[in-house]
């Protein structure tokens, strides 16, 4: 359903992705691995069509989703019309809004009132901490709670496909595990997931397939269990 073909993108005059191709099928969990600066965030922002200055400019290649060309679509419509959402690196919680306002804002483009109501319930049952803190300002949450809120927001935007950029950053090992369990459960109820993750071992444990990026190119791809036993991966990422 998501197909990225020979994608070249640049920031200013500097090319950051040198022709990457990947695909994600409905219902999958796909991991995107790679060292710092490899271009993982750039890949996700390209798919989301985030505009400069944050996002890169596509110079060549194609991104299509369920048959539609995403390249001319502005970011807000990638979410509202095509149902792909991004939990960005660093969470980007609206610290001046309450937890509930953060969630409500994510329903901006939706008008299916009943489903929205169910989705609030789902978010609060996945993350009871958010329910306890619904009237608290976002910037008063702990790092883990902010990550829950960021995922909850993506969920509330009603998308079928969520991209996550380093969701476990700054979390304790216990919370990391918890996070991936929640992702698995979201996935099992029908949401496709692509996740960028530093903790390759954890990611490969939960993912169906994975891609490895290096300096703007995909250097390895395959089934998660195959990559987990791949000697190169073991040396580079699994220590």
């Amino acid at each position: 359903m998501l197909t990225v073909a020979d994608l070249h993108v640049k920031y200013g005059n500097i090319e950051a992705l040198h022709g990457i191709s990947l695909s994600v099928e409905e219902g999958e969990i796909v991991a995107l691995l790679g060292a710092n600066g490899a271009g993982k965030s750039t890949t996700l922002m390209s798919i989301m069509r985030l505009a400069p200055p944050e996002g890169p400019v596509v110079t060549k290649g194609a991104i299509s989703y369920n048959g539609a060309d995403l390249l001319p679509i502005p970011a807000h419509n990638v979410i509202a019309k095509h149902g792909i959402g991004l939990v960005p690196e660093g969470r980007h919680i609206f610290g001046n809004l309450t937890v509930f306002e953060n969630l409500k804002l994510a329903t901006f483009a939706r008008n299916d009132k009943e489903r929205i109501g169910q989705d609030y319930e789902r978010v609060f049952s996945l993350f009871p901490r958010l329910a306890d803190r619904r009237t608290q300002r976002g910037d008063l949450l702990s790092g883990g709670e902010q990550q829950m809120l960021a995922i909850g927001r993506a969920f509330m935007s009603g998308v079928k496909f969520i991209l996550l950029d380093e969701p476990s950053m700054g979390l304790s090992p216990l919370l990391m595990l918890e996070l991936f369990r929640v992702l698995k459960s979201i996935n099992e109820s029908g949401t496709t997931i692509m996740v960028v993750e530093q903790n390759a071992r954890l990611a490969l444990q939960y993912a169906n397939r994975a891609y490895v990026l290096e300096a703007g190119k995909i250097v390895l791809e395959g089934k998660a269990e195959d990559l987990a036993t791949n000697p190169e991966i073991r040396r580079a990422y699994l220590g």
Binding site: L50, P74, I79, P88, I93, G95, N96, F108
Partner: protein
Amino acid sequence: MFLETFLQNLLNALQWGSFYALIALGYTMVYGVLLLINFAHGDIFMVGAYVAFFIATLLLGQYSSPFLPPVLVFAITVVATMVITSGVGVAIERIAYRPLRRKGASRLYVVITALMCGLILENGNLALLGASRRNFPEMLSKTAYNIGGVNFTNVKLLVILTTIAVFILLETIVRKTRLGMAMRAISYDRMAVPLMGIPVDTVIVFTFILGSSMAALAGVLFATAYPVLEPYMGALVGWKAFIAAVLGGIGEIRGAFAGGFLLGFIEIFVAALFPSTLRDLIAFSILLVFLSIKPTGIFGVSRATKI
């Protein structure tokens, strides 16, 4: 005697504070959303007064009708002026600011562009209508009251009450509606707003509509209270409203009101105590001292977590 004088000045201060507050709103909201000081905004106030002048003149003259009593003409003028002036504000955003934003121009260029837009509005008016002053038609027959030695008119009361109502309305919009929340969200983290499925440009246009229509409202009310219009009428009042916005803490809606009223009070009470030629000198010296003590203004915070 002392109390009467005090109350008299208080009412005047509230009226002037209202004008400043209504205009300051536009400065503060646009700053909250775009981090842009929209220096054309004072002239939007002037445009509002002129638009109202033409609508009222037509409705009282050529298009007058027995079914249109002056009070109704006033109501129509207020609404139509707010709509048309919003159009001017939005047009400036579209034509002048948005292309710069798309190109990622630095904020200095956008501010200079705003200054130029203001000058174009002033001089465009001068070119079209000439330098002569216009008399704003009287739609509300001014009634003066005297309660316990304090004089006030129905117009003064209208100005003050309208401003309070606007404050409540805007606070509600910004707190409770999704567009209002989006305005606050942009001021905190611009990058994440489109990720919520929100078209940023829509929020920006909404902000300009709110700001311009409030400046237009100030224009009509001002012209009703002081019925002489000239092309540069927005310049000084606009600067003062900008100072009021900074004084209250730019980016904060409450700040626009607090700053507007504070400026009104200082001006009126300084004028009551000192010779009128010293008014602005003393008033702005007080403000200078205030800002050097609290540079973020009354409600301001030092980060861009505004509105």
